[in-house]
Symmetry: C2
């Protein structure tokens, strides 16, 4: 491509409303433009990279045996009513009416549509397993779209859905998809981790997320220092502390703690570490058969945080997790929030494993402005149920017993689920087995955020000059910058010749033939992040050389004109061109 | 691809609700499935063809110098309000609200979005001309979606928009796009015609449609028998009949025509040809400055039909064209519909060129149950304005004076427009010219119905066995059918070997290794329409041959196994593989 005939829409200024580096650089490099909140146009430069990501995803999915389809973006409400999600799915589902007033949505995902297709098309166990995928535009009406294409409302996703006679077959395809995802993210040149994940609202029995490691990531992911254990923070298990709980050594005492309402202030006031305190969180309990629900107390060590996903799954706790209001707390306990504690508390108590391991601890006295010290389980308060209620912290033991846990930030770019029969049961998607018996199919689903990957890659690959693309998804692999070509026919001719030579060898080449100052051209090519750059100048040509600089190189080097192609082939990961 | 691992979703029965052959065959060949009215899922077999069409469109657009972008499907109402189309566009615009209640639409076209982009990105005449295109999913909420993907609500379109400093530059790009479209439709192997078209509601000064000729087409297109003149029926000019109008030879007579209300019955009753009669259509006139409008009479020869597009463009006629009600007619003329005529009519009259050429004709007497014969213009009725009001008919002289007109049915698959400044003026899209003066850009727009092309190709290429794909867009170019491979390892092995050989030579091959009867496999491959077929059988192998049959061939032929590849290369349009 000749830059003079191409939209090089670079910008010097960092856009004020772009918070993360990938969003800033995608705007500055002229890859995307905002149309409205969470809606972006891909400019020519950005679309080239998006298409390369798509191609890698498609090639690996095809290799895995999955079959590509294309389902409509607009989906009829009837199918979502069959699965039960029309009412469950919240504000992110963009609902709409056609001219006849019928209900539809702009699909955020396609479980219903594919299940409807498959229940009509597949009749026999002989046609299983089958795995269908598409690369398609989706819409999620995020309350707060942000970070550019990282969390846009309209985005490109690869979604796949597999169908099976039994759980064993589902497990096999799940493993194939796990390997396929690794192959995709390897080819994309990403530093990523597959982590165990909670299968959440989408349902099902097992799931892994694939996270690109980046400090701007919105998710906490957890690794063992010693083993391959990795999970997202929602899923990571906080194991019970080692050893027996210490025996009581202090007497129970009630101490006035006027105006001390937080763990930090109480600890400071009493001169004890927050690790020696517990906090009591009151949440709604499950409804009984009469539709009545009381409160449940969740007890955590003062320095720990509640894991809401773990808590809401517990028997007796309402889902979704709902914190009690101040009024409800006062009504149930007779005491204001800030001084609640497990001693003589008249609501059911669930105690976190770490809190349960404490002796001689501090807690609220269930009396406004007072706390208890020297509290001990069994002696002073009924221990009741002990559960894993908290988020892990760095240094916690790894749940597999090997090493301790580290926490990093991640950007979720892929997610694989064992759905089981959640959709196939609700929508009656069956096949006949070898005995002619009707069997509800098992399902898996597998997503990749195609447009998000572009941003995630930039989060990992940039410097103060701009983007640094891996060769595989660079909009162009090579830039040829001609200096003063409008004045020097020799330079123009040599640039054209090199351009044709590299193009014919199969490289994506951008010939920067614009009538701009050399500094502007260099800065643009670096901002755009093209991996390889040749400079064609009169000075170089008189010595028979071109100047070469890799985007990550600190130094330039001269390359003989006749060696340019072989030099590039050696520097490129595509050596087998 | 191995058929045993691929969704071959063929059907024997012709679906009851599929009216046209392409819709029937796309369902029967397992290319598409209906999700809801006007919404279709592309199955693997159909998607392969859709992607090949996309690729050809993309390659030729790239070659033309156009730059690919990708704009959001969801568009904010504000831009449509700027252009004025939010209120003008009718029920086909799918309007929707996001979670914050803001107005959006699912874009049926992208003039507003691209104009908004370009007015921010392009600042100088030096950046012009520029042509941006996308291949993207659109939605038009058709009142009556039909014919499968031919007139679906959600569909894939290639839309391009060009920007220019002046009309001359627009004309140049318009011509480039005309040639590019011809190159695309040539490569797609379609029998098509570019025809002059009315630029209609989208506005602008010139336009051509590209029609695939097919009897199921919804449009009438018109050609000269002698010259290259071609237009759609809306646009085709009906020229005035040659020669002077004959002098009056009959006396004006009023004749009772009881209960004769149509042209046909009056003609029969009076024993004159319908070509000797005129009909009078009353339509609403334009509003005057007080918002009042009367009726206007349109006079046509009895055997001709009104061209509404031509009529509504005339000064004095309301747009859109609105027929007067029976009550309005009676109120304005004092006579019921069925006996209206131009003699002593008290509303303004516009006479079609052919009607104006009649002498001694028949018309309504403006008196219930009476007609006049021997009517002559000027003598009996004021001729007033003469205009082109009618649709051309076969045998009419060509407007360019060469030959006569033929009419065929066409499927519109492409449309190019000179938009002029319709959008750029409304949205203030300007650049600075070489003198630093702000100039409103000229625009062109260029559409291709990518998904519709798949159906249009089938309308032209099928027989009683199924689809007959041109090689360029066949889902697979070659089928290898193995006979009894599950019993004969020799056949299975030879099939595999041929499959690998042809694949490595660059062909898209479907190896039909299914454990089905030969007749089922042959019928499926013919229904799907794969252009080339090899059969591998024990009988053939023992003689060292394969059986070959082209999809259009009547006879099979034997080909030596070792010659299979070179034979195929010779039969394939891709000889230069």
């Amino acid at each position: 491509m000749r830059a003079s005939r191409y939209l090089i829409a670079t910008q010097k200024e960092t856009p004020a409303d772009a918070e993360v580096i990938s969003h800033q650089l995608m705007l500055r490099a002229g890859m995307i433009r905002k149309l409205a909140a969470g809606l972006y146009t891909w400019l020519p430069m950005g679309l080239r990279t998006l298409r390369k990501v798509e191609r890698i995803v498609r090639e690996e999915m095809d290799k895995s045996g999955a079959q590509e389809v294309l389902m409509p973006a607009v989906q009829p409400a009837e199918l979502w009513e069959e699965s039960g999600r029309w009412d469950q799915y919240g504000g992110e589902l963009l609902r709409l009416n056609d001219r006849h007033g019928r209900d539809f949505c702009f699909g955020p995902t396609h479980e219903e549509v594919i299940t409807d297709l498959v229940r009509h098309e597949l009749k026999s166990y002989k046609e299983l397993p089958a795995n269908f995928y598409q690369i398609q535009t989706k819409f999620r009406d995020e309350r707060r779209p942000r970070f550019g294409v990282m969390r846009a409302r309209e985005f490109v996703m690869k979604d796949a859905y597999s169908f099976h006679l039994n759980a064993e077959s589902l497990g096999e395809t799940y493993d194939v998809m796990h390997r396929t995802y690794c192959a995709i993210f390897d080819r994309l040149g990403l530093d990523y981790r597959p982590v165990q994940a909670d299968s959440g609202a989408i349902g099902g029995s097992a799931s892994h997320e694939f996270h690109v490691l980046a400090s701007s990531g919105e998710d906490d992911i957890v690794f063992s220092t010693e083993s391959s254990y990795a999970a997202n923070i929602e899923k990571a298990e906080a194991v019970a502390p080692a050893g027996e709980r210490a025996a009581p050594s202090e007497e129970l005492q009630e101490i006035a703690t006027p105006d001390q309402r937080t763990i930090e202030s109480v600890s400071q006031f009493l001169g004890v570490d927050t690790t020696r305190t517990v906090k009591t969180l009151l949440v709604k309990g499950e409804e009984d058969e009469n539709g009545q629900s009381g409160l449940v107390a969740l007890i955590l060590r003062g320095d720990h945080t509640l894991n809401e996903i773990k808590a809401e799954k517990l028997e007796g706790v309402a889902e979704p997790l709902t914190m009690a209001t101040d009024e409800e707390i006062e009504q149930a306990t007779g005491c204001k929030p800030g001084s609640i504690g497990p001693v003589n508390l008249n609501v059911p108590v669930i105690v976190d494993r770490s809190a349960a391991h404490l002796a001689d601890f501090v807690c609220g006295a269930n009396k406004e402005g007072y706390h208890l010290t020297g509290v001990n389980w069994d002696r002073d308060a009924d221990l009741g149920r002990v559960e894993d209620l908290r988020n892990v912290v760095e240094g916690d033991p790894s749940p597999d017993g090997q090493g301790t846990l580290e926490i990093r930030r991640g950007i979720e770019v892929g997610h694989i689920f064992k759905l089981g029969d959640k959709y196939s049961q609700a929508m009656n998607a069956t096949v006949l087995d070898e005995h002619g018996k009707s069997i509800v199919m098992q399902m898996g689903c597998y997503g990749i955020g195609v447009s998000r990957i572009v941003a995630a890659s930039i989060e990992q690959n940039h410097d103060d000059k701009g983007i640094i693309w891996p060769d595989a998804i660079a909009p162009f692999e090579v830039a040829i910058v001609t200096l003063n070509a409008h004045k020097s026919p020799t330079v123009a001719e040599a640039g054209d010749k090199l351009y044709e030579q590299l193009r014919q060898a199969g490289f994506d080449v951008l010939l920067d033939d614009r009538n701009e100052r050399p500094g502007v051209k260099f800065a643009d090519m670096e901002l755009i992040g093209i991996p390889h750059r040749f400079v064609v100048s009169d000075r170089g040509l008189s010595a028979g050389t071109l100047e070469y600089k890799g985007r990550r190189d600190t130094d330039k080097q001269d390359v003989a004109i006749e060696d340019a192609l072989s030099f590039l082939i050696n520097r490129s990961p595509r050596k087998g061109l």
